[in-house]
Symmetry: C3
Subunit: 340 residues, 3 copies
């Protein structure tokens, strides 16, 4: 039984437990990449000439969703707390709201479709009490935002405009993390890449299996750190370790990430889900106002700085996306992939 | 020979060494709890109805000292550097001022009686050169402040006023740590709970035995972090670890606390006192102005932030103390204890 | 073949590789001391009376270079990227600019001669693309600054003026680290002391052999932390560890420094050079603008604070140098050394 099917059939259970029941272990690796630079597009791009690649590059940057083909809206189940997103399983059980990415065939890549998180519907879910979030590295709001982007494409061309629009989407996505008023717990069960790693600095606790890895290859793509990682990572692990990761692309194992303070605790793969779920249920019994006020107390001193950093990072990413250096780096990256 | 007796008989020695000589090892566990939620009060409260418990709750919050019965002023020894506090042994030897809690029958609980530290007498001791402090997790100024609190009780009732008064006492207690101008070294030889843990972020070095533990179960009691821990802990150990401790009540072992930077060094239990005392004596030989100015240099950049955080934390604690959520959490906590 | 000889003969190779080729392993320990308190001066000073020592102290503080005798300008090799400093080997190879201290007979002590780094010539080298720096703990601009200091001495006497002049030199030296716009990687292959340790908090990554140690005995000399370490170290490793090092002189092993986040990675001594050089060459292939902009992004939030800290530290060092306490501490230190 596939992940999508079980997600649809058993919405009254959390997607977490549904998958656990039917598949034993959740086998969806949490690979997030900000610009959706994973997928078959790699190989085809690698075989193109430079100018062809540039057009393809613009397409990928501006409309990664459309390139994947149209998504179908999932049927809304009646009388359930689950929210109907095809590629995103959201449900509430035991006072725990879980958000689970459901795109195994795309390696759970997050698309540019991050607007949704800052939008109304999902926010109201995230803000639900006690607001504990499962699998932070697991969003996708494919359809709605995909359409928006497609419309933008019709209206106007040019990579500048697209980069700017995309940059606003991502900025709002990160803002939602900065301002989120309740405890946010990420549960990572596989390799995390790019934005799914960087936002962990804004998440309150991170539980992972021993199989998880953490990778931010921004520079290799001619980009720069985002998700406030240029601010949070040096404060979490010191500059010497943060720069190794953010500038020189060091990929951390779960144990390394835990030792450096990015991850709260690492669990054996075989007992990961049961142990974590037990903890989450215990946490959900704690006094809610006390939890929320204490989280805000801890985060409030940094909030202003974080918003400034997020704005600056997003501007810089938008500039980078329009640079020859970034274009060449991406094409080079694709070509290397194509040779494999 | 009991700890109190040896403290009285051998004041010319530091309380540290006195106890070492007569008892082999200092066997007073350093249990601090901000609101004195340890003691027999737990069990009795657990058996009461809700409204009875509320009254008892107000009593505990507003006058923990009186509930323990009157304390007797210790006789002042002539021609000695020791200061007469019954439950607090303060002395200076080898240029090291040590402050040692002496309430083994109360598990060395710190009472609300924290005003003293910010008051004149004790401060002049703390400020004595070179100001190295032994057993930070070990204050109590029972009698004088206890009387003050009893007087407050006579004057006016109401939990609001009591919470506010208490909040000022604690705020000043923490301010004394923030502004303390000389090196402050905490020596922890047993379980530390609550405020005795949080102020460690304001202490310059922390030496512990391998038996020490560090626990801040604020949320379980409907409270919130204090002692500037909402600011210092994320900066010491990163948010993912700090929030595990401050929000979700993770109890750290000595080794864990050391790995996360809260503790400077962990010593074997059998050689703890001799090794630490040797170090303190060496430190006391270092150039004093150089030490003090360097400490101030290191702390000065954070001082303003720390005072703002302390004020905010104390306000929030005072609000929490008046909330239904906190009351229910405390009663629930007492009931659970009573069942044991 | 001595280090100096090979440096002169093989300038077309980087000093790094030149020495590797001829000597197997780079055997120059990286001992930096801010005030050049290493060398034979120790022993002779120890045998003097106090007032004689004071004069000697002033000499050492104000003109460490002259005391070592005049330095000879190295011959400039034609058509090479190497820069002619006798005690400092600077060259660029594989897009990596390396700066290597070459004073093995002085234990690679950095003298007060730090002005040069902030001066025009060296800066233009440091700023060369991609600006990756080898062996940060290895500068010396002996001759030019030595002359300047000698001139100062002729013009005016008095320790106050000398301390102030020296303080400006060092302040500018540290400013160059704070403002340096490109990745700066320190490669440490032996014991590092004083300023060579403190500036590591401003360096982006630190690679060391397992033999390296890190020691900042400021207080023992009546001084105080510099190189922005009073700000960067608590943020890297937490106050409890930073104060152990900066105030109480704890010397860290390479493994400890790595665990506490001061060092990025420790390599076996036998493969150190080959492994590090391979990494540096890979890094030099990364998109340059992306690297530089990302570094600036990470450092920009702290820049203002760091300049304020540097100014304050340098003022305090200048004050300390004129204090009786510092003088006595230095003489005591020299006497202890002389007895060995």
């Amino acid at each position: 039984m596939g992940a999508e099917t079980c997600g649809a059939n058993q919405r009254s259970l959390s997607p977490f437990r549904a998958r656990q029941a039917t598949q034993g272990m959740c086998d969806i690796p949490c690979v997030w990449t900000y610009w959706n630079f994973v997928s078959k597009a790699w190989k085809s791009l690698g075989r193109m000439l430079k100018w062809e690649s540039k057009q393809q590059y613009i397409d990928v940057i501006t409309n990664p969703v459309a390139a994947e083909g149209p998504a179908h809206a999932a049927a809304k189940p009646a009388g359930s707390t689950a929210v109907p997103y095809k590629t995103l399983l959201v449900s509430t059980e035991d006072n725990i709201t879980t958000i689970c990415l459901n795109r195994p065939h795309k390696k759970n890549a997050i698309t540019v479709a991050v607007r949704g998180l800052a939008g109304h519907k999902l926010c109201s879910i995230l803000y639900s009490i006690p607001g504990i979030l499962y699998q932070a590295a697991a969003w996708s709001l494919l359809r709605s935002v995909g359409n928006d982007l497609a419309n933008f494409k019709v209206l106007e061309g040019g990579i500048e405009r697209k980069a700017k629009d995309t940059h606003h989407l991502f900025r709002d996505f990160v803002r939602a993390f900065i301002d989120f008023p309740k405890p946010l717990i990420a549960v990572v069960n596989g390799p995390a890449v790019g934005a799914s790693v960087t936002v962990l600095g804004l998440v309150d606790m991170v539980y992972t299996t021993e199989k998880a890895t953490f990778h931010t290859p921004f520079i290799k793509l001619g980009l720069c750190p985002e998700g406030c990682s240029s601010y949070t990572f040096p404060r979490i692990m010191g500059t010497a370790k943060a720069i190794e990761m953010l500038l020189f692309g060091k990929k951390l194992s779960a144990a390394e990430a835990c030792q450096q303070g990015l991850v709260t605790e690492v669990f054996p793969d075989s007992t990961f889900l049961t142990e974590v779920w037990k903890k989450l249920k215990d946490f959900a019994q704690l006094p809610r106002n006390s939890l929320a006020l204490s989280k805000q107390l801890i985060r409030s001193m940094e909030r202003e700085n974080l918003h400034a950093v997020n704005d600056r990072e997003c501007e810089l990413v938008a500039e980078r996306l329009q640079s020859e250096e970034c274009l060449n780096a991406v094409v080079h990256f694709f070509q290397a992939k194509a040779k494999l």
